[in-house]
Structures are given as structure tokens and as C-alpha cells.
């Protein structure tokens, strides 16, 4: 157990040159991080080079939704405000980016076709025209699409951030579930307004516009590049003084206000930053799908992000990415769930799921030493699961169970049930608030007393006691 890195060490009062704890082991940690990035690059190379188009698109989708969940986590996990309007910000980012980056060929096509209500002003909005106006003709060729896309995504993000500020203001007067509902109302209002005649000169109403180039949205490199930037900014923000202030607001807003944190400014800041990255994710999502349509930004998008955050771990960036991977995997590779099977197979599957939930509940109660082990949370799903499995197995022959049933929407049902189980059994999510860091890997526990500390204090050397805050004995030591 090496001495705790970068600490003033032991009982020395006063502040000798204290190096913040996260600067410890810099060399080793940065080497390991570089190693990790190398592995990621190899994986991306394989995927990019691989034959399967679907795998490439799934990785790109993971990165895009990762940007959205990590940015939503800044508001939900770090600042503790439940925001349900994330799909609204993505819509703004998506439409602005899509409109700005539409190739001229598609624009003329749209202008001629009877299905476009896009006004001439909206048609004129294109980064290509702006570059040409600025004389940067080299950037208007099809190869330099990435430059135009970059500018468009930034503008989309800024527009979304603007709305983020607008949505942030009610958060100054409202708390908890009232605020959640106002953010939800904003999200839905944005989508409904986008289809009204007022806005349809920009959004072409509910029909949207097709032909958005998807070579950026579907390229693994660009999407993971954007994801890397988002994770970098969010991680650095979380571990900075601003991050601590936001977490202070999550813990106790009144105490933060009393400790000098301008909670109004910080909450609006959190909303704005989160909305900016949501706008970027929206732009990439429109590019991934290839068309800008309103029914891409329904509330189910925010629901999937909530599942990712809650299952992965609120407040932990690695946890959120883990959750996103799970959600994308179920969404994209959940097809077998939606095929038609005989009722008996459905019964057996339901039985197994319920038994798994019962086992998980039993395991968690044992770990947390909750008596009695076999609480209702365990035996109710267990019994139901057993019955369902038996009915399924034995009833193979029965005609009633022969009827086939198309598992429609089973992917969404699985995600919904997974979220309910997680909320009941482990509300903080798989990773809780802990991050996956190299220090965690090498088991450097900062909050455990080190050897010399144990040696100095008699009562600390007895491990049983060190955990308990022995207020009585501790004082006698100091006074003697």
C-alpha cells in the first residue's frame, strides 16, 4: 500500500505544497490512456474495414447517442436536474445542420417538387453559399463536405444552446418534478411548433427534407471524433471547480447558494452546454438517417437516453457510455426479439426473465444483508417465472399454445422492463457515481488510512475500529 499520492501526508497541520490528488501518477495514467486509445483505434479500423455495413452504422449510432447521453448526464447526473426535453434540442440541432448542409442538387430538386414549403430564404441558407461568398471556393467541393458539416454542426449546436438557455430560466423558479415537466413541455412544444405553418418555411412541416449527406453521420471516424471531444469536455468540466459547483447544486441547492455559488448562472450554464452537445448529436443523427423528419425526434429518444443513464450510472461518464452501448445493442440487434414465435416459447422466455430478476433481487439482498433474504421482491417474480416456464415447457403440445405471436415492440418492452428493475433494485445504476479510472483499476483507495497513519494512531491500527468514527476515544488521544 504505497503512501497516498500527492497528499500533505500524515498529521502535518498546515498546507505544505499540496498537489491536487488527480495530478498524481500522471505519467503512468497518461501512458495507460494512450494504450486504451490505441486499442480503440484498432477496433475502429477493423469495423471501418469490415464487410458488414450494419456494424459500421451501429458503431456510428453508438457514438452519436453517446454524445447525447453524456451531455444529458451533465444536467441529470451532475447537476441533479431531471431534464426531459433533450429530444427538443436535438431537433433544433438536427434541422439547422441538415438545412445548412443540403447539397445544391437536392435543393433545386426540392424547390421544383410540389412537396416543399421551404421558403427561398431557407433555401439560401447553406454553408456552401457562405463559403463561396467568402471566397473559400476550395471548401465547396464534395470532398471538403466535412468542413461545411463542421460549420453547420457548430451553428446547430449554438442554436440548440440558445434554446437551452431559454429552457434553463424556468429552472430558476421551479424545483424537482415541476421542472422536469416544464422541460418535457418545451421538448414537445418545439416538435409540435416545427410542424406548424409558422415554422414550416424552415422545416418543411412534418414532411421534413431528404437528401442530407450521410457520409459524416455514417462514418465511424467522424462520429467517434465528436464523441471523444464531448467526453473530454464533460470529464474535464466534471473534475473542475465548475463541476464541483454543479454537484453542489445536486446535493443541496440552498447550501450551495449559501456557500456563494450563483446557482442561477450555473444551472443555465449546465442547460446551455448540454443543449449545445445535444444539437451536435442531433445534427449527426439527421446525417446518420439521411433525412430530417419530425418523427425522428419523438420522446422515445429521450426515454432511451434516460434508460442509458439510469442503467449505466447517473453522474458517471463511463457508466453512461456503458448504458448507451446496451441500449444501442438492444435497439439494433434486438431483431430476434421481434420475430414470431409460438406462445409456448414466449412463456418460457418470460419465465426465464422473471427467474433472472428474482435471482438478481436475491443476490442484491444478500450483498446488502437485508433480512429476510427471501423478501416479496424475490419470491413473487420467482414463483411467476417458475409457473410461466413450466406452462411453456409442458404446454408445447397444447393447441392453445401453438398459436404464433409476433413479438411486436419487444425491444422497447425489454428496455422498459430493464429500467423498472434497475430503478427498484439498484437505483444508482451499474457504475453508480464511480468513474472507471486507472486509480480504481490499481485499487488505490484514497479514503483508506495508509500504513504510517495506522502506525501513528493506536486506535487506527485496529482495523475494526478505523471504520467506526470513535469520537470518544479519539478525543482522549488528542488531549493527552
Amino acid at each position: 500500500m504505497s503512501a497516498r499520492p500527492g497528499d500533505a501526508g500524515g498529521n502535518g497541520a498546515g498546507a505544505r505544497g499540496y498537489r491536487p490528488h488527480y495530478l498524481a501518477h500522471r505519467v503512468r495514467n497518461s501512458l495507460l490512456t494512450l494504450g486504451g486509445l490505441a486499442v480503440l483505434l484498432v477496433v475502429l479500423l477493423l469495423v471501418d474495414g469490415g464487410a458488414s455495413v450494419k456494424l459500421k452504422q451501429v458503431f456510428a449510432l453508438f457514438a452519436i447517442w453517446g454524445i447525447a447521453t453524456v451531455s444529458l448526464n451533465l444536467v441529470n447526473g451532475v447537476t441533479g436536474i431531471l431534464s426531459l426535453g433533450h429530444h427538443g434540442f436535438m431537433l433544433i440541432g438536427g434541422y439547422v445542420t441538415g438545412l445548412l448542409v443540403l447539397p445544391t442538387a437536392t435543393r433545386d430538386n426540392l424547390a421544383r417538387s410540389a412537396r416543399s414549403e421551404l421558403s427561398d430564404f431557407a433555401m439560401g441558407l447553406s454553408v456552401e453559399n457562405w463559403f463561396r461568398a467568402l471566397g473559400l471556393d476550395s471548401l465547396t467541393t464534395p470532398e471538403t463536405l466535412w468542413a461545411r458539416f463542421l460549420v453547420a454542426v457548430l451553428i446547430g449546436g449554438l442554436m440548440a444552446a440558445l434554446f437551452g438557455v431559454v429552457v434553463g430560466f424556468p429552472s430558476l423558479r421551479l424545483r424537482g418534478d415541476y421542472l422536469a415537466i416544464v422541460t418535457f413541455a418545451f421538448g414537445e412544444a418545439i416538435r409540435l411548433l416545427a410542424s406548424t405553418p409558422l415554422m414550416s418555411s424552415f422545416t418543411n412541416g412534418a414532411l421534413g427534407f431528404a437528401g442530407v449527406p450521410s457520409d459524416i453521420g455514417k462514418s465511424v471516424w467522424w462520429t467517434f471524433g465528436f464523441l471523444a471531444v464531448t467526453v473530454f469536455v464533460m470529464a474535464r468540466l466534471k473534475y473542475s471547480s465548475y463541476g464541483r459547483a454543479l454537484q453542489g447544486i445536486r446535493e443541496d441547492e440552498i447550501a450551495s447558494e449559501a456557500m456563494g455559488v450563483n446557482t442561477a448562472y450555473h444551472k443555465v450554464l449546465a442547460f446551455a452546454i448540454s443543449a449545445f452537445f445535444a444539437g451536435v448529436a442531433g445534427g449527426l443523427w439527421v446525417s446518420w438517417v439521411g433525412t430530417a423528419r419530425l418523427d425522428l425526434f419523438l420522446f422515445f429518444l429521450t426515454f432511451y437516453f434516460l434508460v442509458a443513464i439510469s442503467v449505466g450510472g447517473t453522474g458517471s461518464i463511463t457508466g453512461v457510455l456503458l448504458g448507451t452501448a446496451l441500449v444501442v445493442w438492444v435497439r439494433q440487434y434486438g431483431d430476434p426479439l421481434e420475430q414470431t414465435y409460438a406462445l409456448s416459447t414466449w412463456a418460457v422466455a418470460a419465465g426465464l426473465v422473471l427467474l433472472a430478476v428474482a435471482a438478481l433481487a436475491f443476490f442484491l439482498r444478500r450483498v446488502r444483508r437485508i433480512k429476510p433474504d427471501l423478501g416479496p421482491v424475490v419470491y413473487v417474480p420467482g414463483a411467476l417465472g417458475l409457473v410461466a416456464a413450466l406452462v411453456g415447457l409442458l404446454g408445447q403440445g397444447m393447441p392453445a399454445l401453438q398459436a404464433t405471436w409476433q413479438g411486436f415492440g419487444m425491444r422497447a418492452i425489454t428496455l422498459a422492463l430493464l429500467l423498472i428493475t434497475i430503478m427498484i433494485l439498484r437505483p444508482v445504476g451499474i457504475m453508480g457515481r464511480r468513474e472507471f479510472t486507472w486509480a480504481w483499476l490499481f485499487r488505490e483507495r484514497l479514503d483508506e488510512p495508509t500504513e504510517e497513519e495506522r502506525a501513528q494512531d493506536a486506535w487506527l491500527s485496529n482495523p475494526a475500529l478505523s471504520g467506526r468514527a470513535g469520537a470518544e476515544r479519539e478525543d482522549d488521544e488528542v488531549d493527552a
Binding site: 497516498r4 497528499d7 500533505a8 501526508g9 500524515g10 498529521n11 502535518g12 497541520a13 498546515g14 498546507a15 499540496y18 498537489r19 491536487p20 490528488h21 473530454f232 469536455v233 474535464r236 468540466l237 473542475s240 471547480s241 465548475y242 464541483r244 459547483a245 454537484q247 453542489g248 446535493e251 443541496d252 440552498i254 447550501a255 450551495s256 447558494e257 449559501a258 456557500m259 456563494g260 455559488v261 450563483n262 446557482t263 442561477a264 450554464l269 452546454i273 457515481r433 484514497l446 479514503d447 483508506e448 488510512p449 495508509t450 497513519e453 468514527a469 469520537a471 470518544e472 479519539e474 478525543d475 488528542v478 488531549d479
Partner: protein
């Protein structure tokens, strides 16, 4: 340093504070005492901006605090602790003491993301200030405890963390709301010593709300007695305690039904200690040391 001039505050008909005025000079330790519900915590909330006074004014170093948001008042240099311990429970002790210094940070969130040299210097400074304030309490909150999350700390340690947090805001005036609540006699003596050191070494001016009379007696230069939102008496502890109005406020009116013992005890100036038992505190009667 701090001056309240004719402050009134009412909550929909209930007159909480009526025409309260008092002053606090630099480096003074003043205690505010009074029976429960006398409005002591309301005074704190008025000074720290949680409530705004209906009339009258609160001046700090000449500038008026009336109508300012709580965090602006902290910028001016007034910090407080809470009666029922509002700590950032899931954060570590070190983080709890770093957050109050956030308002002094001069760099934007962008520079904190890119960790510019200016930002890192301020971050180092914040860490040093945090350790300096925590070291006021000796080794108890240092070493491995720095990185323990607050919920595993003992009640007394949490009290100390809350005080360190108030000091870390860089304030000049500290409002301590029952700092010794929930502490045993040894810890109360220790806290008294620490408050005195804070005033002498730290140069803080302290306004105290306290029920334990021996702590008030040992440490406060002046005492203000509140009853039903009015200032009953002000002055040194000795003469305030014997003021008949104060005894009456604490023990209620003399009436034939009061037993002989109660009258005797009141007569010889031993004002019964906290007429209300703060949860977890030692037996009320031990003040008769």
C-alpha cells in the same frame, strides 16, 4: 462592521422580528440567545439574504445587504453554518471545502476545461486554503479523512466540516448557528477554544446563536437576548443574565403556582440552560459546573 437598523419581518400576519437593531464591531464575538422560537434563526436568514426584511436595513461594512441574493452576500464576506447541517453529503470532505471557494474563481468554464495555467494556479490555491482551514481542527479531518465522503463522518466531524466550509468562503463575518449542538462536554470545550482561535488567529468576526450558556459565557464579548422577535437586552454576559426581564422570558411569569425551588434557582442567577433539549446533546442540567 455589521449594523441592523430597525429591521422588521413578518410571515403573513406573524410578526417574526420587530424593530431589531444592533451592531457588531470588527473582531468581536457576539452571541444571540433567547428561548425557542424567539427568531434567532430568522435573524440569520435575514442577514444571509434567504429572507428580505419588510422594513429597516442591514449594513455590512457600510454597504446595504437588503435585497441581495445569498451568493452575492457571501461575495461581500458574510458566511454561515446551518442549524441542521446542510452538507454536500455524497461529496468528499475536501470537495465540501473547495466548493465555497468557487465564487472567487476568476476563470471561465472554458479555461477550466482546458486547464489553463491561470486556472491551475487558482485550483492549487483553493486546495491550500482548504487544507489550511481544515487544519484548524487538528488531525481529525486531515489525512485519509480528506477523501472520505461526508456521510461516513461522525456527527462532531460533520459540524467541524461545516465550520471549515464557512471559513473557506473567504468571509470576514461568520454566522455560527449552534456550533456545539450534538457535542459532548469535551468537544464543546474544544469548539470554544477553536472559535476563540478563529477570532484571534483567523481574524474573523463571529455572530453566534447558542443554547449552551457556559459556551456563551466563556467566549462571547457581548450577548444579545431575543424574545418574540424583540431585543430584550444587550451587553456583557454577567449583567444580561441577571436582568429580570431575561429571567422572566426564560422561566415565564412569577405565579403563585411556581414551586419554591424554581424561584430559588432563578434568584441566584443560575439561569436554567437550554430550556429545550437539542437532539443528541448532553443532559440539560450539566451547566451547573
Amino acid at each position: 462592521m455589521l449594523r441592523l437598523a430597525g429591521v422588521n419581518k413578518s410571515f403573513g400576519g406573524l410578526q417574526a422580528i420587530t424593530d431589531l437593531s444592533f451592531e457588531l464591531a470588527e473582531g468581536e464575538i457576539v452571541s444571540v440567545i433567547g428561548p425557542n422560537g424567539a427568531g434567532k434563526t430568522t435573524v440569520f436568514n435575514l442577514i444571509t439574504g434567504v429572507y428580505t426584511p419588510d422594513s429597516g436595513d442591514i449594513l455590512f461594512e457600510g454597504g446595504s445587504l437588503k435585497g441581495l441574493r445569498p451568493n452575492a452576500i457571501v461575495d461581500r464576506g458574510v458566511a454561515r453554518t446551518f442549524q441542521n447541517l446542510r452538507l454536500f453529503t455524497n461529496l468528499t470532505v475536501l470537495e465540501n471545502v473547495l466548493i465555497p471557494q468557487h465564487h472567487k474563481l476568476r476563470s471561465t468554464w472554458v479555461s477550466s476545461v482546458f486547464r489553463t495555467s491561470g486556472y491551475l494556479a487558482q485550483e492549487r490555491r483553493m486546495h491550500e486554503v482548504a487544507l489550511e482551514k481544515l487544519s484548524f481542527f487538528g488531525p481529525r479531518l486531515m489525512g485519509f479523512r480528506l477523501h472520505q465522503s461526508v456521510e461516513v463522518l461522525s456527527y462532531a466531524n460533520r459540524r467541524r466540516t461545516e465550520m471549515a466550509r464557512a471559513m473557506a468562503t473567504g468571509a470576514k463575518l461568520l454566522l455560527l448557528d449552534e456550533p456545539s449542538a450534538g457535542m459532548n462536554p469535551k468537544e464543546t470545550r474544544e469548539i470554544t477554544e477553536i472559535i476563540r482561535r478563529m477570532r484571534d488567529e483567523g481574524g474573523y468576526t463571529i455572530l453566534l446563536v447558542e443554547h449552551k450558556m457556559n459556551l456563551v459565557k466563556d467566549i462571547s464579548d457581548r450577548v444579545i437576548v431575543l424574545d418574540y422577535g424583540r431585543k430584550l437586552a444587550e451587553g456583557a454576559y454577567a449583567d444580561v443574565v441577571n436582568d429580570p426581564a431575561v429571567i422572566e422570558a426564560y422561566l415565564g411569569k412569577r405565579s403563585d403556582k411556581t414551586s419554591a425551588v424554581a424561584r430559588a434557582r432563578a434568584a441566584d442567577g443560575l439561569v436554567a440552560g437550554s430550556s429545550v433539549d437539542v437532539p443528541g446533546s448532553a443532559a440539560g442540567g450539566e451547566e451547573r459546573s
